[in-house]
């Protein structure tokens, strides 16, 4: 599965949030998008996931044009996305959070399928919890687990729907150092079999995971290249990395 963006642009009033961004995601080539706050990274994810529509440009999923498809149809077609704010279903159990995500992947939406007792989707939910190390907390309400665990649940809910394209919006935000390592390992694993886009501020994680890096500044692409090329790029250093060092 591949996800391709061609010349995506989106304007909010006078602000050009995303300007002519093109990129291609495919399994085995994890792609990271970095850039200062306000560079348009989250807007890019929103455009790819369908939460907002592009003013111009096209989005192709496996060659099929999904530019006009609403977010839920794109999710059904295999685009899974996580959110910066971990806000799933606080009153529901961790397992039910993942199971609801899995339920969304049921084929079609027919009353006969929906009239079934809660079955079938359990396996997917458990597998996702297993992958994120949350099985021990399956029965806890989502509101009662730690912030780090909620970040993991965010990932688990994406995985439970069995997507083929993964769009992760700052999955490591707010995680402690000892919590980060397993998530980085998980993302590296997933990248082998999924088309993966990672928006992340943690540069160590970005360079550990990504095979391609796009640097965004003021909505536009400053540079795209291998982590090595980006690390050594003078333009990138001036525009972004330099400010942090």
């Amino acid at each position: 599965m591949t996800l391709e963006a061609r010349g995506l642009s989106r304007r909010f009033g006078g602000l050009l949030a995303v300007a002519d961004v093109s990129l291609r995601l495919r399994p085995g080539v994890p792609h990271a998008v970095i850039g200062p706050n306000g560079a348009g990274k989250s807007t890019l994810i929103n455009l790819l996931g369908g939460a907002i529509r592009a003013d111009s440009g096209a989005i192709l999923l496996n060659g099929a044009d999904v530019t006009a498809a609403p977010d839920w149809r794109r999710a059904r077609a295999g685009i899974g996305r996580s959110f910066q704010r971990a806000n799933l279903f606080p009153d529901l159990s961790v397992l039910e959070n993942a199971r609801l995500a899995a339920q969304a992947s049921l084929p079609g939406w027919r009353l006969t399928a929906l009239a079934k007792e809660e079955s079938g989707t359990w396996d997917q939910a458990w597998a996702a919890l297993d992958r994120t190390g949350l099985t021990g907390f399956a029965a806890h309400p989502a509101a009662a687990i730690s912030h780090g665990q909620r970040r993991l649940l965010e990932i688990a809910a994406v995985l439970a729907a069995l997507p083929s394209v993964l769009l992760f919006d700052e999955p490591l935000a707010g995680l402690g150092p000892e919590e980060t390592a397993p998530v980085v390992a998980l993302l590296r694993d997933l990248a082998a079999t999924h088309a993966l886009l990672l928006v992340e501020h943690d540069m160590d994680a970005v360079f550990a995971i990504a095979a391609e890096v796009t640097v965004m500044v003021d909505g536009g692409v400053l540079e795209t290249g291998t982590p090595e090329a980006i690390r050594t790029s003078a333009a990138v250093r001036d525009a972004y990395l330099g400010h942090r060092a």
């Binding site: 977010d71 839920w72 959110f83 799933l88 339920q103 929906l114 809660e118 729907a161």
Partner: protein, 304 residues
């Protein structure tokens, strides 16, 4: 919204049996009162699918109840109840489909106001046009039942009929809320945007719930018409919808069986209020105020 477990259902079943035994010990007037409460319970229960189930607060719901009631009048006398009942559900369901298709494009406060507008349109359709026989309401011929019911037996027959339909409706909704559809509604109530992002057809799910709830309200309205042999435009008004919401709040919006408890409680409060004073609305209001302030989770929340 939680569903009662096996024990809860056992208690509800026992309560239903106690009511069904009323012909053995109660006066006809009290059986009529129980019938009224059972119909109110059906109505509130149908709205609970939206309110407690999907987090949708609708004021158009009385319109669907009223359409169900008026369908008996519109079909004319002498029809079989096996025709009028499905016809009432169908008519109410169709109206709910049209209303929901448009109203569900809005959310929150705007949804509430849109449903108010649609509900009032239905109200004025029957209040201000000759379609429904006038603003003061109209007496109707009851549909044909399997046997002719003698006048003296009516309180008994209608009580048992209404209890049966209330039980069937409850069991249907109990089953429904345990299905994947019910789980999806709970997800929508908790976080609609998230459900959509996950790939759930939120619009389709909400419309389905809205139509189902509307059809069930039509069934409740039909039973009101059959029981009372009288229909009036007030049945469609938003006051009536607000009353069902009140019953849900009183009984417990977080519990599937809350509206049933709320409907019987409110009917009882009203009856007691009426017997001790002419200012029964005041008694009613104070009782509801006290109940809502003291029982934050309604009557159904008392057990835990």
């Amino acid at each position: 919204m939680t569903r009662p477990g096996a024990r809860g259902n056992l208690w509800l079943g026992l309560a239903a049996l106690a009511l069904a035994s009323m012909p053995l010990w109660a006066a006809p007037w009290h059986m009529q009162l129980a019938s009224t409460a059972a119909i109110a319970a059906m109505f509130a229960l149908s709205l609970q699918l939206l309110a407690g189930g999907a987090g949708l607060i609708s004021l158009a719901h009385a319109g669907f109840f009223g359409l169900g009631a008026y369908s008996v009048y519109l079909l004319g006398g002498g029809r079989s109840i096996f025709l009028t009942l499905p016809a009432a559900a169908l008519l109410a369901g169709l109206a709910a489909a049209a209303t929901g298709y448009l109203a569900l494009r809005t959310r929150g406060f705007y949804f509430l106001m849109t449903t108010l507008a649609f509900g009032q349109m239905l109200f004025f359709l029957f209040h201000d046009t000759p379609l429904g026989g006038g603003a003061d309401g109209v007496f109707i011929a009851r549909p044909d039942m399997i046997w002719t019911v003698p006048k003296a037996a009516r309180p008994v027959v209608f009580l048992l009929l209404n209890l049966t339909i209330l039980t069937a409706m409850y069991l249907f909704l109990w089953k429904l809320m345990g299905s994947l559809f019910g789980h999806a509604l709970s997800g929508i109530r908790a976080n609609e945007d998230r459900m959509r992002a996950m790939g759930h057809d939120v619009a389709g799910l909400k419309l389905t719930a809205f139509v189902l709830a509307g059809a069930l309200a039509g069934v409740a309205g039909h039973m009101a018409a059959v029981t009372d042999a009288f229909v009036s435009p007030e049945l469609l008004g938003w006051h009536h919808a607000a009353e069902a919401l009140l019953m849900i709040l009183l009984g417990g919006i977080g519990h599937l069986h809350g509206p049933i408890l709320g409907a019987f409680a409110l009917t009882a409060i009203r009856e007691v209020g009426q017997s001790i004073t002419e200012r029964q609305r005041l008694v009613e209001g104070l009782a509801i105020l006290a109940a809502v302030l003291l029982l934050r989770r309604g009557i159904a929340g008392l057990r835990r």
